[in-house]
Amino acid sequence: MTDLLTIQGLTKAYPGVVANDDVSFAIAPGEIHALLGENGAGKSTLVKMIYGLVKPDAGAMHLHGQPFTPPEPRAARAAGVAMVFQHFSLFEALSVAENVGLGMESPPPMNQLSREIREVSHAYGLPLDPRRLVGDLSAGERQRVEIVRCLLQDPKLLIMDEPTSVLTPQEVEILFATLNKLKSEGTSILYISHKLEEIRALCDGATILRRGKVVGSCDPRQQSAAELAELMVGEALHVPDRAASEPGEVVLQVAGLTSEHVSTFGTRLQNVGFEVHAGEVLGIGGVAGNGQDELLSALSGETRGARETVRLRGDPVGHLGPNARRDRGMLSAPEERLGHAAAPDMSLTENGVLSGWQREKLTSGGFVRWGAARAFAEKIIEGFDVRTPGTHVAARALSGGNLQKFVIGREILQRPDVLVVNQPTWGVDAAAAAAIRQALLDLAAQGAAVIVISQDLDELMEVSDRFAALNAGHLSAPRPARGLTIEQIGLMLGGAHDMDVAHTEDAEQIKDMYQNPKSGEPRP
């Protein structure tokens, strides 16, 4: 059987970095092919070239044996290549139908399009209401919009860039069922991920990229996750270890936390309550947009509430702002590195001062003590292996992983009693992520109470003593993390939000109807 897509010697260089260096592989019809690699390994650049968003410097692509050089996404779509983006290419203020229409070459009139969306989305077990605004949808539902947009174009090759990073385990299962169904119908899928277990469960073949180069290809079903990880990272991964410790006294009590004002597409916290003990890590899981940002903001003091909602060692602090809370030992590191945790255009020294001036005594009489501030920044850089030329460098210039190490290190070095972090390893490569998790565990071992809010369940299982799930602003009761199964966690996360897998017969019929438009009118 001839391959659907072959790629030979594809190279793309940006100033200062070679994103793809002589990459070659092939995808057979009906194959689910994994593209595996760390952040920055060049996966995204590669698929952008296949989708016509980026032009390769050298190399050739063949689709169905014909040379394939899409000058723009339109041409790629016309050739049967569809793509589901990692960061959704959706428009929040537009409806589902309008969003789907924007991704199609010549969409039918809105009424007909809405009907098709409803039918195709049900046929593939991804029900959607075409009239709803995308801004009101959950992350899983948004992804369905992207997938349905692709399916309506009857693709030969479907590219999926990190599709599961925002889904609950149940939603992942539904997605896999859909993908397997597509595969059985002969659609090839290029599946990009760094989650090894998923790739082993789903894919027929895998190409592994490291620093822009193909370092191996294998049948992921024959390899263990550890072997794949080693190929991907290039070295054996250090798994954070932890000393078993008895939880100490209650440091932080949260009770009846309900948000009063939220931004337009935000989520209102509903009577959230929990306790954290000294020396303990509380993991809070949940799919993005279920109240994580609001919870962090309520704990950091950016959103103030009633006095009694947050108590630190028994003292009410719910009404205090961030500086007062920092002064009392309650620190936080928000999710957004650039613009929330750090000021992008200010130097590392200045960013250190912004957060640490009280506890590290970096000011005196209203003046900044620059010497002490530089020493503090240097201590962070040294202590947390931040790779940067010096403390004068702007925060923006650091890579995501390095800046994240700086941000977390900045808080940890201020010796917090309570540290709240949101998505501590989002978009961070595996080695840096392991270092950050280890630092959080060490902090807890020294007697601090640590709250880790994350969407990465593997991460939470690795670091948490207790686990709680945030779903639509409600926080479940924390349960001991050890011994929790993925299914239990999935149910805590609210399961698959009103998702169902439709009957296969219906699916066949409707699929048939749209795949053979030439055979006349749809059957009644």
Binding site: K48, G52, L53, V54, E72, P73, R74, R77, F85, H87, F88, S89, L90, F91, E92, A93, L94, E98, G101, L102, G103, P107, G135, H261, S263, T264, F265
Partner: protein
């Protein structure tokens, strides 16, 4: 003060005429902003349109050619803004302000030979039957063609934004330019077209002042109409028909102010001159109270530069 001395039918009739310049400029700016571009140079494009329209109109003795020239001049000036903001990625607010100042200076330069020259006489349309209806006839159906053209443009913009694919793409670009780019739409090109449309409409609005409403050329004759048009877009929360309502409301205030003065009312005119802005601020506060941006309907990428870094 003698209110009975005001002829209310005449007042309402002149309302549509007074509103037309800001209606044209406003609807053009609305299209620009829906594409995600904030062009604060409306005043500059209007006054450039006013002098170019007046000059060409007087030289050729044709109001139609005057309006065409005004639209071209407005569009040309807006392309300067487009070049600076879309290709050279300059700050849109600063560039827009500079465009206003530049337009004021440029128009004064071009207009030196035209001061005190008598303008054209633009014929009023007389529609049989409709124009003869008592009361409604003079108010609605005895104006020049541009009044109706402006309403037609509003209707066209509304229908385009709402029902056509081009309108959908325009809104998408204003909503999320990165996503639009990822789907393969030419963000910069679409924005340039929206900017040019906004410039052309502003030019028409300016020419309406110098060719119909006044009709002669004086330096700085737009006197802040461009800023009212900008306020109007926000007042209308980026919806075309509300621009029409807002323009007639603001136009009505202007006319009322003149009539009250004539009637000898002892209210400083400055209060009425301020009122469009106060009303806009009030509308903004009411609309944004507690519900946020989506209900305000503001384009999400308004004023943000796009650079295709892929």
């Amino acid at each position: 003060m003698d209110l009975s001395s005001i002829n209310w039918i005449l007042l309402l009739a002149s309302l549509m005429v007074a509103a037309t310049p800001i209606l044209l400029a406003g609807v053009g700016e609305l299209v620009t902003e829906r594409a995600g571009v904030l062009n604060l140079g409306v005043e500059g494009m209007m006054i450039t349109g006013a002098i170019c329209g007046f000059a060409i109109g007087v030289e050729t003795n044709s109001a139609i050619l005057g309006f065409v020239a005004a639209a071209l001049a407005g569009a040309a000036l807006s392309m300067l803004f487009g070049l600076l903001t879309q290709y050279l990625l300059s700050n849109q607010v600063a560039t827009g302000l500079a465009l206003t100042l530049f337009g004021l200076g440029l128009s004064a330069l071009i207009g030196q030979g035209y001061i005190g020259i008598k303008g054209l006489e633009v014929a009023k349309i007389h529609i049989p039957l409709l124009s003869d209806i008592p009361v409604l006839g003079p108010i609605l159906f005895r104006h020049d063609a541009m009044v109706y053209v402006s309403i037609f443009i509003v209707a066209g913009v509304w229908a385009t934004l709402r029902y056509t694919r081009a309108g959908l793409i325009l809104r998408a670009v204003g909503e999320n330019h990165d996503a639009a780019h990822a789907l393969g739409y030419k963000v910069v090109r679409i924005r340039l077209m929206a900017i040019a449309f906004g410039g052309a409409c502003a030019g028409l609005g300016g020419a309406y002042l110098s060719l119909v409403r006044v009709p002669q050329w004086t330096e700085g004759m737009t006197a802040g109409a461009g800023w009212i048009a900008l306020a109007l877009v926000v007042f209308a929360s980026w919806k075309p028909w509300r621009i029409l309502i807002g323009a007639y409301l603001f136009g009505g205030l202007t006319v009322l102010q003149l009539n009250l003065q004539a009637a000898g009312m002892k209210v400083p005119v400055e209060y009425l001159a301020m009122s469009p802005y106060l009303v806009t601020i009030l509308v903004l506060v009411i609309m944004s109270s507690g519900r946020g941006r989506a209900h305000l309907n503001a384009p999400a990428e308004l004023g943000r530069s796009f650079h295709a870094s892929s």
